[in-house]
Structure formats: C-alpha cells, structure tokens
C-alpha cells in the first residue's frame, strides 16, 4: 500500500531525528583528534582523560549515592502505596494527588523545595537532593508496581490466609515474590531518573558537592570539549542499559 510506504519513510526519519545526534556523539567520543569533523583515528584517549579527573569521579559518586538512597526509599514507599491504591483506596482524587509530581513542571517543584529547605533551615546537601528525588520517584515505582498488581490473582493470597498463614507471612511468601519483577523494574527506572535528573538537583544541591548532571551542565556551558563526549557516552549507555533491563522485567506497561 502506498500510504504505508510513506508512513515507513516518515517513521524512519523520526527515528533518525531521535538517534542521529546521539550516535554522532558516541562516534565523536572515540575520535582521537577531538574535532567534530576531522577523523583522527579510533582512540580511547578521552575516556582515559576522564578517569584522571577527580572532580568528575566525585560527582559520579555523589550521583550514585543520591540515586541509590532515593531508589531504596521510593521502592518501599512506592510498593506499599501501589498496594494501598489498588486494593483499598480506589479514589480518583488520591490518584491525581500521588501522580502530581509527574505533571508539575520540574522548575516549580525545584523552587518549592529550595524555599522549603531554606525555611526549615536545613542545609543543602546530597541529603536534600535525595529527599527531593524521592518525591517524584515514589510515583514512578507505584505506577509500575500497580500494573503488576492489576494482573494479580487475589485468590492466591486468600488461600494462604485461609490455610492459616499470618498476614505478614502471606505477604513475604506469596505477594512479594509475585510482584517482585514489578518492584525491580520500578526501582531501576527510579534509579535511572534520579541519576540523570538535573533541574531539581540543581536547585537543592549544596555548593560543594554537585551531582554528575550539575557538573555536566557547568562543563557544557563553557563550550564543547571532547572529554564531555566521552562522559556523555558513558552516562547514556548506563541509562540505556538500566532501562532495557527494566523493560525486560515488565516496566513498560506502567505508563500510558
């Protein structure tokens, strides 16, 4: 059909638009010359540069701490919330409230949190970023675990309770193993979002310990340098890998 051929061409161009710039960046990161158009041969030179950059390694560590901490808390809170929303409180208003952080423009949330931390006189640090990231990560974990729960066969739990298992044991032996893939998928997603999140981190970070996106922002503002290409390639690869694993665990169905 002719229409389908046009659609195929259109879709191909859209994917080229989405992936072209990224692929170009990856290619340039291996370019020995460091110039965007002169190919100086394949080289890992810019990657080696990164390894000796202390500021950068520290920022990467900060990001891992924030992402790890916020994921841990949101995994627990988000899972409990998903169970609560799915089984007890089916309520439109509550749903809207919980998913509010996903729709509020991030700059609004960022200035609100900055004002709040300043108001309660809590010094800005990695802890304030972590606290802030939990606010939106709860929603992401809850959304994915909830999808998993909607396929859940309730009779399994009922059988366990009827056979005399206490609720806590039923939860850990029946419910948890069945929804675990959802929790893992949600946590991986939360971890990735937190690792890459810039706007809220930018406003809630202390001056001395930036996360990686904050550092990248300041590097990029000073212009294009070849080592940023290498750094960008590493960060994109890690995110892509985590997201692909999350997808495999059934993380895509939580949205739309």
């Amino acid at each position: 059909m002719r229409v389908m051929n046009w659609l195929r061409l259109h879709t191909g161009l859209v994917y080229l638009f989405l992936y072209g710039p990224i692929l170009m960046l990856i290619l340039l990161s291996f370019n020995r010359s460091g110039l965007p158009t002169a190919w100086g041969g394949f080289s890992l030179h810019w990657y080696q540069e990164l390894l000796s950059n202390k500021t950068l390694l520290n920022a990467a560590l900060n990001s891992l701490l924030v992402a790890g901490g916020s994921t841990l808390v949101s995994a627990v809170f988000g899972t409990l919330l998903a169970m609560g929303l799915e089984r007890i409180a089916r309520n439109v208003v509550l749903d809207a409230f919980v998913f509010l952080p996903m729709i509020i423009p991030d700059i609004v949330l960022a200035i609100a949190l900055l004002s709040f931390f300043t108001f309660i006189e809590m010094p800005l640090s990695l802890l304030t970023i972590t606290i802030s990231h939990i606010v939106f990560n709860i929603a992401f974990v809850a959304a994915i675990v909830r999808t998993r729960l909607s396929y859940f066969d309730n009779t399994l739990e009922e059988a366990s309770l009827d056979l005399g298992a206490p609720p806590v044991q039923t939860f850990f032996k029946i419910t948890l193993p069945l929804i675990l893939p959802g929790i893992i998928a949600g946590s991986l997603l939360a971890f990735t979002i937190s690792l890459d999140e810039f706007v809220i981190a930018f406003f809630t970070a202390g001056p001395s310990r930036p996360t990686l996106p904050i550092l990248i922002y300041s590097m990029v503002r000073f212009g294009v340098t070849p080592d940023v290409n290498a750094l960008a390639t590493i960060v994109l690869s890690i995110s892509a890998l985590l997201i692909l694993i999350s997808q495999r665990m059934g993380g895509s169905e939580g949205f739309f």
């Binding site: 046009w6 659609l7 195929r8 879709t11 638009f17 989405l18 992936y19 710039p21 170009m24 960046l25 340039l28 965007p36 158009t37 809170f77 988000g78 409990l80 919330l81 169970m83 609560g84 929303l85 919980v98 509010l100 952080p101 729709i103 509020i104 423009p105 700059i107 609004v108 200035i111 609100a112 004002s115 709040f116 108001f119 606290i131 939990i134 709860i138 809850a142 739990e157 009922e158 309770l161 609720p167 939860f171 990735t192 890459d196 810039f198 990248i216 922002y217 990029v220 503002r221 212009g223 294009v224 960008a232 960060v235 994109l236 995110s239 997201i243 997808q247 895509s252 949205f255 739309f256």
Partner: protein
C-alpha cells in the same frame, strides 16, 4: 477480600512524605507569592498582590506569551511528527511493535541534558553542520545555528517527542480496526476515514500527548539557556533568575503560580475531553 495489612501501613509512608515534601513546599511558595521582598532579598511577610500584578508588565508578559508560542509550536510539530509514527507502529507485528516502542522510550529516559548537548555539538559555529556546509562548498565561513528560537524549538521537540508518541500509540492501538474497515467499505477515501473516524476516536491520546509535550516545554529552562544562549528568555529562565540571581523569591513564586494556572487549565480541558468522549 480480607485485609492483608492495614491501609495506614500501606498509604501512610508515601502520603506523609508527599505531605511534607510536596504539599508544604508548594503551600510555602504560594504564601511567598503574596509576600514582599526585603532590601537584602529576604522575605517580608506583609501581604501584597503586587507580585501578581507585576506579571502583567510588558516585559514579563512578553516572555509569557513567547513561551506559550514556543510551547504551542513544539506541541503542534510533535503531533505532526508523532501521529504518523505512532500509527505506523500500531500496524507492525508484535515483535516489531515492541522493538519500535522501546526505541521511542529509550531516549526519553536518558539524560535530557546530554541530549541537548548533542545539539550544541551539531549546531555550534565549529560544529558538525557548519563544517559540513563548508566541506560541501555551500558556505565559506563557519555559521552558528545556535542562539535563536529555531534552536530552542529543535531542542524541546527532540526532548519531548517521545511523550507524544506513547499516548498516541496506546489510543490508536485500542481503536477497533473494524470501524476503519467499515468506513472503507462504505466508500470513504483513506483521508476522509482518517479525519472522520480515526482521528476523532483517538482524540484522547492527542490531548494527553499534547499536554505531556506542552507542559514541560513551557517550564523548561536549560534548553533555552544552552541552545538559546540565555538571551532568549522563556518562563523557566525567568523563574530561575528570580530565585538564583535577583533573589526576589516572592516574585519568582508568583511566576511559578502563573505557570501552574496554565497547567491547571490544560488539565481541566483534558478532563472535559475525557468525559465527553466517554459519553459518546
């Protein structure tokens, strides 16, 4: 069903967290937006509506309107690019469908900052595009394609296009193919079928996708900063500079609530569309 755990344990932790770190902060800046700024950037708790009336001074109004214009254009363009793409994906075999969808989702969860940087590499004076034009003999001097509205457009479109494709995909996917076949059988042209059957029945996906693109485009501040050179202000830049440079937090808060008012109107519109299509 027997209650496994009490609702308090399930809902308590998350709702408490959101109460403290979402509701209170938003309430705080809402209060700030009616307060005054002191001489040293401190907040003076004296009630005033001045911060809101200052939103209507010509410079600020111009920035608001310009941001609305840019966000609308980005949304329109995303719809034009996204709809045929989403439609094409729904027509593929399950395996291809999944692959193509994952490929849309993938960039959407990776660092937007880095993806914006990729465009700096492409568009700057010494960048790939400029060098390419020279190499092809189409230009003699290096040209910068950055620091204009088009660069901001491209950056926002690039970042938020996946937000458009996903909801469109799921609403087209849910469409019963027999409806389209019936339209064809009754002699309608493909174009007529599209505008009279397919598009009206997927309008919810269109509205959801449009909001998902419009809202973050409106509030974004680093794309205009990095690709627009910080010269071409959007609302996000203005809020950013009120908070971090001018230190007029009450004024910045009022701007934020200006944005929130626009978002709220859009969400009400979405709810209205949802209700109408449910009745139909």
């Amino acid at each position: 069903m027997k209650k496994l755990v009490s609702p308090l344990v399930l809902l308590g932790p998350a709702l408490t967290w959101l109460g403290i770190f979402l509701v209170l902060p938003l309430a705080l800046i809402f209060a700030y937006s009616f307060f005054q700024r002191g001489a040293f950037g401190q907040i003076v708790p004296q009630l005033t509506l001045q911060n809101y009336s200052r939103l209507f001074n010509p410079t600020v109004l111009k920035v608001f309107l310009n941001s609305l214009r840019i966000a609308s254009l980005v949304t329109g363009l995303a719809l034009l690019l996204g709809y045929p793409t989403a439609y094409f994906i729904t027509q593929q075999s399950t395996r291809w469908k999944n692959t193509l969808l994952v490929m849309v989702i993938l960039p959407f969860w990776t660092s937007y900052l880095i993806r914006t940087y990729a465009w700096i590499v492409l568009l700057n004076r010494e960048g790939v595009l400029s060098r390419l034009l020279i190499a092809l003999g189409l230009s003699r001097e290096p040209i910068s394609f950055l620091y204009n509205d088009t660069a901001i457009f491209i950056g926002l479109l690039y970042g938020y296009l996946p937000f458009m494709v996903l909801p469109l995909y799921s609403s087209i996917e849910r469409l019963n193919p027999e409806l389209r076949e019936a339209s064809f059988d009754l002699g309608a042209t493909p174009l007529k079928t599209f505008f009279q059957v397919t598009l009206p029945l997927t309008i919810r996906g269109v509205v959801t996708g449009a909001i998902f693109v419009f809202v973050p485009s409106l509030g974004n501040f680093f794309v205009p900063e990095l690709l627009g050179g910080g010269q071409r202000f959007m609302i996000g830049n203005m809020i950013n500079s009120q908070f971090l440079k001018a230190r007029d937090w009450p004024y910045g808060s009022a701007m934020a609530f200006g944005v929130m008012a626009i978002v709220l109107l859009l969400l009400l519109f979405q709810a209205w569309v949802t209700r109408r299509t449910e009745q139909a």
